[in-house]
Amino acid sequence: MKLKFSPLPFFFAGLFAVIYILAAAFPLSQELQLVPEWTVSISQQPSTFSQQEKIFPFKSSQLAGYFSESGKIFSSSTFPVKIAISDSYYAPFGLSDNSVSVYSPDGKTVCELKECGFPFIEDDRIFMFLPGGSSFCQFSNEGKKLWTYEGFVPVTAFSSTPAGCAAGFADGKVLAFNPDGSLKIEFIPGGSRYPAILGVSLSSDGSQLACLSGIDKQRIVLARVEKEHSVITFYKYLEKDQTHQSFVKFSNDNKWLYYSYTGGLGIVNCEKSKCTELKMDGTVISLKHTEVPGTFFVLTRNNKKYNVYVIENYTKKSGSFSFDADSAFIETCGNELFVGRNSKISKIQISKE
């Protein structure tokens, strides 16, 4: 028998060896390590308030207060019905209050809001949503009413930044206001059979507006705010309508837009008008940036199950973990992640190994 020599197997073996050697020169991608550093109970005896440490608000069931990066609980108090809280102020309130007291994190009274309704505090901006759900006003931090908007269509979405605020309404209209209460623009995204605004966000420089709108062809719309009108720069129809209030938020540098859709998180590159969707379990309820551009955490909820997702390079899902809880929140400081779960807060150390 005569053996036939073929060079092909040797060629492929040699090619594989070369590719292997070249590939081996690059390190494997590092795995994200999430290691709990400390866990504290929010019901523990509060420490003496310190101006030196950066503080973060927490809210869980009927307890609210502030904690520090080092794990100290600076204040923790029960609130009888509801509470509005930010890193600057907090305001417990009831369902029939005719006025609401606002406190600083150290528990000192800052002002009294002499108005009926439900307060909303974002950073140091204080708003009151008025009975009926269609009107609201903004207060100074001395408790002086700065301006009021009175309407008859329920407010279904709201966003506030240093550049003003934007309110979305059940009739599909978005009104953006300057900080002095003057109307910046009226924007009607349209494009759906039944107009309604489910989520809205105003960029921190006031130059862009985004909203999730409509039923029967629901869509996310990004618009550039010009002097007296707005120009739609991007839109995308969603596969499935949602009727609940939805998460819509710009990145800190206003170059990216995040929105919640049924099944995950949508991410829009505002400069390139390109959209990526990341599948996630549950509904997005919070998103917190780290100091690394493009790295952020997303908290989603599916009934009692909460998920925390780690996103890198804006669009890459690097990892996730989940837990069962009655209430949960996430917070970030630098590259550190804090996770609140029922009555506990944990600091999660993030590293790559």
Binding site: E115, P131, S134, A196, T243, F329
Partner: protein, 286 residues
């Protein structure tokens, strides 16, 4: 659903109404607060029920938004409607069902889309801003006319209306001077806002004021409209809350000019079924 522009005709000639009850039917004199009432520091666009009941769609439509409380989440605003369902109907009408109990909300509320008259959402309860023990907060919005509509115009009526009264009358001059009004009194000539004493729950559906037989103004509580960034009652001009309710004891009747001589001021208030009360005041103007 009938066209809103034919509502008056419908009310006059037909026993059928555009909307069904948004909860179990109640007697006309048992509402907690009427549309147009002073609520908080604003004019209310809600009809508020006294009794807790299962809440249901008052007409076929499409659920466009479900507002929920955010007790466990930070960074979301809390609507004073509490848990609420908003439905878009034909003919550009929208209905709002607020102050629903969170525990009773239907499990599949976010899956509901097209709803029929009578589709149940949950039970009215404590989730929205309410004064006292009030329950369902019901609103009707006319998107075409860009106004809030008195829900009672579109709903069936059960039983009798609460009996109206004119109440005690005051006039407030341009300079802010308050004059209690009684028959055969004297007033300086000038421009006045005429007020009646405000009832805490109900209010007339229509108010008209005539002087010497000439109609000066008719204020109707069939709808509220926006003027700029203010919600207003419509008379000869749009009146914001501080004009309609300068304090919690007064309700605007009319803006009038009194000129020298004998002025017979006739005040008429009507309820939604057309029953009216009239009072006449002879005022001698210097």
């Amino acid at each position: 659903m009938k066209k809103l522009s034919f509502l008056a005709f419908v009310l006059a000639l037909s026993p059928a109404f555009a909307f069904d009850w948004p909860q179990d039917a109640v007697l006309s004199d048992s509402f907690y607060s009427y549309f147009g009432q002073l609520r908080g520091n604003g004019i209310s666009s809600s009809l508020i029920f006294s009794d807790s009941s299962t809440v249901k769609a008052s007409e076929d439509g499409k659920i466009v938004t479900v507002i929920t409380e955010h007790n466990d989440d930070m960074g979301w605003f809390e609507s004073p409607l509490g848990n609420a369902v908003i439905i878009a109907h034909d003919d550009n009408l929208m209905t709002v069902y607020g102050n629903l109990d969170g525990e009773s909300l239907k499990e599949d509320i976010f899956e509901l889309s097209d709803v029929k008259t009578g589709t149940e959402f949950g039970v009215s309860g404590n989730s929205g801003w309410q004064s006292g023990t009030s329950c369902l907060e019901f609103q009707v919005i006319d998107l075409l006319q860009n106004s809030s509509v008195n829900p009672r115009v579109l709903m069936p009526h059960e039983g009798h209306e609460k009996e109206l009264s004119i109440g005690s009358i005051t006039a407030i001059g341009k300079n802010g001077t308050v004059y209690p009004i009684w028959n055969r009194m004297s007033l300086p000539a000038g421009h006045y806002f005429l007020y009646r004493s405000r009832h805490k729950t109900m209010l007339p559906y229509k108010i008209s004021v005539s002087i010497n037989g000439a109609l000066m103004e008719r204020i109707s509580y069939d709808r509220l409209k926006q003027s700029g960034m203010r919600l207003c009652v419509i008379g000869n001009s749009p009146y914001p809350v501080e004009k309609v309710y300068p304090d919690s004891d007064k309700q605007l009747l009319s803006e009038i000019n009194l000129s020298s001589g004998k002025n017979i001021v006739t005040i008429t208030v009507n309820d939604i079924l057309g029953a009216e009360k009239t009072a006449e005041y002879i005022i001698f103007v210097n």
